[in-house]
Assembly symmetry: C2
Homo-oligomer: 237 residues x 2
DNA sequence: GAATTAAGCTTGTTATAACAAGCTGAAAGT
DNA sequence: ACTTTCAGCTTGTTATAACAAGCTTAATTC
C-alpha cells in the first residue's frame, strides 16, 4: 500500500472540491457517509475529513457537519493603510472594534527600546469583519496620545484615529509572518487550536515624534492578507 | 469536565516548553511516557502531542519521537531584496537552488494580462536554506530574459541574476498571505499536509520594460518571514 | 574491523466500541 | 401562534486492540 487510506479518501474529496462538485458553503459527506461510501472505520473517515480541514479546504462544525471553506481574503495594503480601510468598506467588509483592554502600563524592555520612556498605553482590540472576529490587535501607544485619544482609540482603528487628529504616519516598519493559534488566540478568533494566523509586527513613526505605535496585529490567515508596493527611487536603496 | 483530557495534557506540556524545561531540539515525553504519566490511553496521548505539533511547538518524527521546534525564522526584506540576500548569508543561511522546471510555455490568461504577450519562461525552483527545502518559487519571466539568462536563472535567485545583468527592479507589487500545504507542496518542502506556508505573490517591474517577472514564492511559515519598510514621501500616497 | 541481524523503542494506521455534546426540525403542549 | 420537548442526525472524546513502519544500538557473523 503506497498511501494510507485516510490520505486516498481525502484526496478524492479534495478533487471534488477543486472540481466544483462541492462549492464554497456546500456540505461535504458526513463521517457516516464517508464510512459507507469508502467502507472504512469511523476513525479513518474522521482523519480524511481532518486532512481537508488541515488544508483549509473545509471547516467543521459540531452537530452540523463539514462545509467547503471560502478562499476569499480581505486584502489590506501596507503601503496605504488609510486607503485600504476605505477599500475594505468598498469590498463590503464592515470593520467593528471590540475593546479588550486599554490601560497605561510599564512597557517590556524591548518595547521601551523602541518607543522610549517607560510607560505607554497598551491597547488590545478585536477587529470584527462583518461581525466575525478576524484580528487581534495588541499595540503600545505613546502615553500622551494614548491618554488624549483614549475614547476614540478604544473603538476605532489606531491609524485612522491618529491621522484624524493630525498625527501623520510617515513610516512603518513591519514584519509579516505566519504562526499558529494557541489557546488564547483560538478562543479570541473562534478558530481551532493551531489555525494559521498572519501576524503583522509593526512600528509606526511620525515625522515630528519618531516611533509612536508599536505592536502586532494577529489575523486569521484564512481571511486576511497584506499587499505592498515597493518602489525604488532614483538612488539605490 | 471543562476541557478535554487531551487539551489539559497538551497545555501542561506546552507550559514546560515555554518555561524552558524543554529547549528547542530537546525531546518531549514519548507517547508511552505521556500515557504513563497522565494515565490515559494512547489515542489521548497522541492527540495531546498532535495539539503541540499543530501549534508549531514540536515536530514529530516517526521512530524517533517529538522534538521542541526552533522558533527562529529567516527574515527577508521586501524593501531591499538584494541586501536581504546578503543579510541571509550574514545570518548563516546558505541558499542553494534546485531546479524543478524551466521551460517556455503559453501563459495562463491572468498572467498574460500582467506580463503581456502569450509566451514566457516558467521557472520552478526549490530554495534550500542550509540544505533544507524551505521555499518553492514559481515564476514567469519575460521570454527574451528567460532565454538569454537560462543557465544562471536555473541555479540562482531571479532578482540577483537580473540585477547582475543590469536589469534593475524598479518596483515590486506583492501580496503576502498564509496558506496550508497541500500534498504537492508538502512533498516538495518535506512538511506535513496542512503545514502553514507564507506565500509571496509578486510582480516585479523594471523602469524600461514594465512587468518582467510574475509569480509566487511559497515558503515554510515556520522558517521564513518578510519585513518591509513603508515610507511616505512629502506628498500623500 | 565491517557488515548484517535482531531486539527494543518510537511513531503511524486502522478497527471496534461506547458515551458526550451540539444542531435541527418536527411533534406535542400551552 | 408560540414555546418546549424529543428524535434523529452530526461531530467530539476516550478506551482497547493489533499490526505496520521507521530508528537506534547491541550482538552476531563474516
Amino acid at each position: 500500500m503506497l498511501h494510507p487510506l485516510h490520505f486516498v479518501i481525502s484526496e478524492r474529496l479534495r478533487d471534488r472540491i477543486l472540481s466544483g462538485t462541492y462549492q464554497p458553503g456546500d456540505q461535504i459527506p458526513s463521517e457516516h457517509q464517508v464510512m459507507a461510501e469508502f467502507e472504512v472505520s469511523r476513525i479513518t473517515a474522521r482523519r480524511a475529513i481532518a486532512n481537508l480541514a488541515q488544508q483549509g479546504l473545509v471547516t467543521v462544525q459540531r452537530g452540523k457537519g463539514a462545509f467547503v471553506a471560502t478562499q476569499q481574503k480581505v486584502v489590506y495594503s501596507l503601503s496605504s493603510p488609510l486607503l485600504s480601510e476605505a477599500e475594505m468598506a468598498r469590498q463590503g467588509v464592515e470593520v467593528t472594534v471590540e475593546n479588550l483592554q486599554y490601560e497605561s502600563v510599564t512597557m517590556p524592555a524591548e518595547v521601551q527600546k523602541i518607543l522610549g520612556g517607560a510607560i505607554a498605553y497598551l491597547q488590545k482590540k478585536i477587529l470584527l469583519f462583518n461581525g466575525i472576529p478576524s484580528c487581534v490587535d495588541v499595540t503600545y501607544v505613546q502615553p500622551d496620545l494614548g491618554k488624549v485619544y483614549a475614547r476614540e482609540l478604544r473603538r476605532a482603528l489606531t491609524f485612522s484615529v491618529l491621522e484624524k487628529h493630525g498625527i501623520s504616519i510617515q513610516k512603518v516598519d513591519a514584519v509579516i509572518e505566519c504562526t499558529q493559534a494557541d489557546y488564547e488566540t483560538s478562543e479570541q478568533l473562534e478558530v481551532p487550536l493551531g489555525h494559521p494566523l498572519i501576524v503583522n509586527r509593526h512600528t509606526a513613526y511620525s515625522q515630528e515624534r519618531g516611533a509612536i505605535v508599536h505592536g502586532e496585529s494577529i489575523s486569521r490567515g484564512d481571511r486576511f492578507c497584506y499587499s505592498v508596493r515597493i518602489e525604488r527611487g532614483g538612488s539605490r536603496e
